[in-house]
């Protein structure tokens, strides 16, 4: 428990005490949402529920779900539960499809956010002695400022590099003696390539930890990153609709992510029937904010597929964990009737020695037949002068993908550094099918 800090003490609270706290907060939040947000009031009225019907934590199942389109439909400020003069910050999602969604914070919300990010960093074994390079994008995206406030709250030295200008990022990392980095895992891979190009081996730098999130990635990718950079890589989880980063974090046990459930109440539901599933069963993560003032969220359907782990973690924290979110329903694509997640392709690739997770999935339709092409960058380690070895490599990749998703993919080997690198969230899928 080397990372025990006063602010993290709630992570170690006895379960009964935590449940009491959650219930008290839940009641408050439901009242606030009911009184102040028209959408929540009408939804509860439709179901003939009032805040006084919430008497136990199990009663949460009586409440209606909130989905992403509710945020779009009430764009921009329709779900706010605080007047604008109490709101101190607005963020907005990237809005890849249609209108962005807007989220709001009061002074108190910002404090809570800083504290959960502080607890995230503590989970990752960081403390005030760390020099933290924050390469999450600053701006409307919640990643940059969320991590920034948390690291400052902890007392670490924060370098707000934001995303982009990778060569300068490496220079800063080296010259400033950075010990921890925050970024998307895909951007860190890009930094690794750049460092190599600049003749810098990250093993020689004081960098010891990476706090990676904002996109699904795999255990295999974590291991690759740890080996390639000589650091410990931690998975963190969050979403703007709930608060931003700081909803859950991996710890030294590397066995799931602790949910800061004194602020965010987790449930797992069957995404089809919407029934709450028993602990330990995989399903869609649903989160309810327990303390958020400006924008409370009731049973928000995250579209993320995971499992709630209730056994006590070896790190000593009592708050529950979710399994690494490798699959996001939004990223799922259907090919020939099979549901496929990009992270499954990544998992297949990383099973092969010497491959790098630089890949892109291209879907096309030829004569009514869907084709999946996976472009993979060839590495010096795998390139061979021997054609049959190269064809063998393609077969091996196709075989691993088939093993995991049951679909035959066409494998295209492409030159190094030809797949576009992302400075934020990686775009793995190019769907060129015309429906």
């Amino acid at each position: 428990m080397g990372d025990f800090q006063p602010i993290s003490s709630i992570d170690y609270l006895p379960q009964e005490q935590l449940r009491e706290l959650q219930l008290a907060r839940l009641k408050n939040m439901v009242s606030r949402a009911y009184e102040r947000v028209a959408l929540f009031r009408s939804r509860l009225n439709e179901l003939n529920i009032t805040p006084s019907d919430i008497n136990t934590l199990a009663d949460i199942a009586k409440l209606p779900f909130t989905i992403k389109t509710d945020l779009r439909d009430t764009y921009p400020f329709g779900l706010f539960a605080s007047p604008m003069n109490e709101i101190v910050r607005l963020h907005a999602s990237s809005g890849t499809t249609g209108k962005p969604i807007v989220v709001a914070y009061t002074q108190e919300d910002i404090k809570v956010w800083a504290s959960v990010m502080h607890r995230t960093f503590a989970c990752c074994g960081l403390d005030r002695n760390d020099i933290v390079q924050n390469s999450y994008g600053y701006g409307l995206f919640t990643g940059g400022l969320g991590a920034h406030y948390g690291a400052e709250d902890m007392g670490a030295t924060v370098i707000p590099t934001s995303g982009g200008n990778t060569e300068r990022q490496i220079m800063v990392m080296k010259d400033f003696g950075v010990t921890a980095i925050c970024s998307t895992p895909s951007y860190f891979l890009h930094m690794l390539d750049m460092a190599k190009e600049m003749g810098i081996d990250m093993h020689d730098l004081p960098l010891r930890a990476g706090v990676f999130g904002a996109e699904p990635w795999t255990e295999q990718m974590r291991e690759r990153i740890e080996q390639a950079a000589g650091i410990k890589a931690y998975d963190i989880y969050g979403l703007s609709e709930i608060i931003g980063p700081g909803v859950a974090s991996a710890c030294c046990a590397q066995d799931g992510l602790h949910v800061f459930e004194d602020h965010f109440y987790p449930e797992i539901i069957d995404p089809i029937t919407c029934e709450v599933l028993p602990d330990g069963q995989e399903g869609e993560l649903v989160l309810t904010t327990l303390s958020k003032q400006a924008m409370p969220m009731i049973r928000y359907r995250t579209r993320d597929i995971t499992t709630l782990l209730t056994e006590k973690c070896s790190c000593g924290r009592t708050i529950r964990r979710i399994r690494r979110v490798g699959r996001r329903s939004d990223d799922m694509f259907i090919i020939r009737g099979v549901n496929v997640f990009p992270s499954q392709i990544e998992e297949a690739l990383l099973r092969i020695e010497g491959t790098l997770p630089h890949y892109q999935i291209i879907l096309t339709r030829e004569k009514d037949l869907d084709r999946m092409e996976v472009q993979v960058e060839i590495t010096a380690e795998l390139f061979s002068d021997n054609f049959s070895k190269m064809e063998g490599l393609k077969k091996t990749i196709a075989h691993e993908i088939h093993n995991i998703v049951g679909i035959n993919a066409t494998i295209t080997l492409v030159s190094p550094n030809t797949i576009k690198r992302s400075e934020g969230k990686a775009k793995r899928l190019l769907d060129m099918r015309k429906m």
Binding site: I378, A380, F383, D385, F387, M390, L413, P416
Partner: protein, 143 residues
């Protein structure tokens, strides 16, 4: 007796072949011979140059994927049946030929073939035992 050959990975797309050639041209490196093997998807450009270390460094600097491999240069009688006689020797020696191509030679009446063998050392001794002229790097690169 083995010769260093550079293999460059090429995506099978217009313009990809000229890239490595341009890199070598800029570096003032002359290509003694080359062979291009390709499938629908990708190709391998095989090159023999005098200063392979510098060529490899220049190509890698330009972002090319390069692998060095050892090949054997063999003199072939430039008469009908010359190649067949050589191949018979190799076959009888039970050495596996992974691929071969002709060396573009501008001098004398010699024909030279470049071979990539599964076991080049064995191939060399098999051929030399039959009096076949296996060319040294100096012979070849001095051409």
């Amino acid at each position: 007796m083995k010769i260093n050959q550079l293999s460059v990975f090429l995506e099978n797309q217009p313009g990809r072949l000229s890239e490595p050639c341009a890199v070598l041209a800029r570096a003032g490196i002359n290509i003694l011979t080359l062979s291009l093997a390709d499938t629908q998807q990708f190709g391998i450009l095989r090159l023999i140059v005098k200063d392979w270390q510098r060529a490899q460094a220049e190509l890698e600097k330009a972002g090319c994927l390069v692998k060095r491999s050892e090949v054997v240069a063999v003199e072939v009688e430039d008469t009908p049946g010359g190649l067949e006689r050589l191949l018979t020797v190799i076959e009888e020696g039970k050495v596996n030929v992974e691929y071969m191509y002709a060396f573009s030679c501008r001098c004398q009446a010699k024909a030279i073939m470049i071979f990539c063998f599964g076991d080049p050392d064995k191939a060399i001794s098999v051929m030399q035992a039959k009096g076949i002229n296996v060319m040294s790097g100096g012979d070849l690169l001095g051409v």
